[in-house]
Amino acid sequence: MERDDIYEYSLDTHHSEEEGKKVRKKIYQVLGIMSAVTIFEVGMGMKFSEDPSWAVYLKYIFIFLTLVKAGYIVMVFMHLGDEKKNFRWIVLAPYIVLVGYLIFIVLTESVYSGTIRLFDPLIHTLTGGGAH
C-alpha cells in the first residue's frame, strides 16, 4: 500500500550538507553548555554538604539550571523550537498550567502535613525514634 500520508507531511525533513554543518555546530554548542552546567552543579553539590549556609540559594540555583537544561533538550534536541508556534504551545501550555498548579498545591499541603505529623505516633516505629 502506498503511504502517501508520510510523504505529504514530511516535506521538510531534509537539509543540505551546508545546513547540516550549522545544525551540528549548534548541537556541539549545546553539549558544551549542558556539560558545563552539570559540572558546575556537581561541584556546588559537593561544596553544599560542607557548608549549609549556602543551601538556600543553591536550591534555587539548581532548580533554575535544571530548567535551563530542560529547555535546551526540548527546544534544540527535540526540535520543538523549530516546530510551528501553534504546535509548540499545544504541547507546552497544558503542561505548564497543570504541573504548575500541582506543584503549588502539593507543596503547600506538604508544609501543613509536616506540622501536624509531629502528633503522629506511627513515626516512631518507622524510623526507630525519629527526631521528635
Binding site: E19, D82, L102, T127
Partner: protein
C-alpha cells in the same frame, strides 16, 4: 532543524480545511509528542509526591549526597561523582541521537548507523550504572543502622543494613521507596528506549528508511530518547542535588 523553519506562509483559513497537516507535522511525530506529554505528567506526579514527603519529613530525610558515594575501583567515598558520570553518559547519548537525526536529514546512512550505535552503547552503559548503584544502595554500609520496633507486644532492637521497600538504614523508608520507584520507572524507560533504538537500528542497517526516502522513524525514536534524558535531568536535580 533549521530546515524546519520553512518560509511557507500558512493561510489560517485554508490550513484547517483538510488535506494538509495544520501543525506542519506528521501524524506519527505528533502522537509521539502527545504520548511524551502524558508520560511527562506521570513523572511530574511522582516527583511532586516525592517533594511532598520530603517536606513532610524534612528533619529526618536523608541527604542523597551522603547516600550515593560509591565509585568503581575506589574504596573511599566520593559524593555525587558517579551520578554525574551517569548524567554525562545520558546527555552524551542524547547528543549522538540528535546527530543521528541530523545525518538522517542528509540521507547519510553510514552516519545514522554510527551515531545510533553510539546511542545504544551509551544507553546500555547508563543501565549498567543504574544496576550497580541499586546494588550498593540495597547492600548498604558496613556498620548499618539500628531500629526499634514492637514485636509480639515487646520492644525489639535490631541492626540492619542497606535499604529496601520496608527499611532504609540511611533515613526514612519512604526515601528508599521513592528512589526505587522513580529511578526504576525511569530505568525501565531507558530500557525500552534502548530496545526501540535497536529495532530502528536494524531497520536502518537493512535500508528500510533509506528506501522510504526519509529517516523520520529515527526522529520519532529520537524524541523518545531525548525525553528519557529530560526526565533524568529532573531526577538528578531533585533526587541527588537538592
Amino acid at each position: 532543524m533549521s530546515a524546519h523553519a520553512t518560509t511557507q506562509k500558512t493561510d489560517v483559513k485554508s490550513v484547517w480545511g483538510g488535506g494538509t497537516s495544520p501543525f506542519g507535522i506528521s501524524y506519527g511525530k505528533m502522537m509521539m509528542w502527545f504520548f511524551l506529554m502524558s508520560d511527562a505528567f506521570t513523572f511530574s506526579g511522582l516527583l511532586t509526591a516525592y517533594g511532598f514527603m520530603r517536606h513532610k519529613y524534612h528533619d529526618i530525610w536523608p541527604v542523597a549526597g551522603d547516600v550515593f558515594t560509591h565509585f568503581p575501583f575506589y574504596t573511599g567515598h566520593i559524593q555525587l561523582l558517579y551520578v554525574a558520570f551517569m548524567t554525562f553518559v545520558l546527555i552524551a547519548s542524547s547528543v549522538t541521537m540528535v546527530l543521528a537525526v541530523e545525518a538522517g536529514h542528509r540521507m547519510n546512512k553510514k552516519g545514522v548507523i554510527l551515531w545510533m550505535f553510539l546511542t545504544i552503547v551509551g544507553g546500555s552503559i547508563f543501565l549498567g550504572s543504574q544496576a550497580w548503584e541499586w546494588y550498593h544502595f540495597i547492600e548498604g554500609t558496613d556498620h548499618g543502622a539500628v531500629r526499634t520496633f514492637i514485636k509480639d507486644g515487646a520492644w525489639v532492637t535490631e541492626v540492619f543494613k542497606g535499604a529496601n521497600l520496608r527499611v532504609n538504614e540511611y533515613g526514612h523508608p519512604l526515601f528508599a521507596d521513592f528512589f526505587f520507584f522513580i529511578t526504576g520507572f525511569h530505568g525501565f524507560h531507558v530500557f525500552s528506549g534502548v530496545v526501540i533504538n535497536i529495532i530502528i537500528f536494524i531497520g536502518v542497517i537493512k535500508g528500510t528508511f533509506h528506501q522510504r526516502g526519509h529517516y523520520e522513524m529515527v526522529e520519532k525514536s529520537g524524541l523518545y530518547w531525548h525525553f528519557v534524558d529530560l526526565v533524568w535531568v529532573f531526577v538528578f536535580t531533585f533526587f541527588y542535588l537538592l
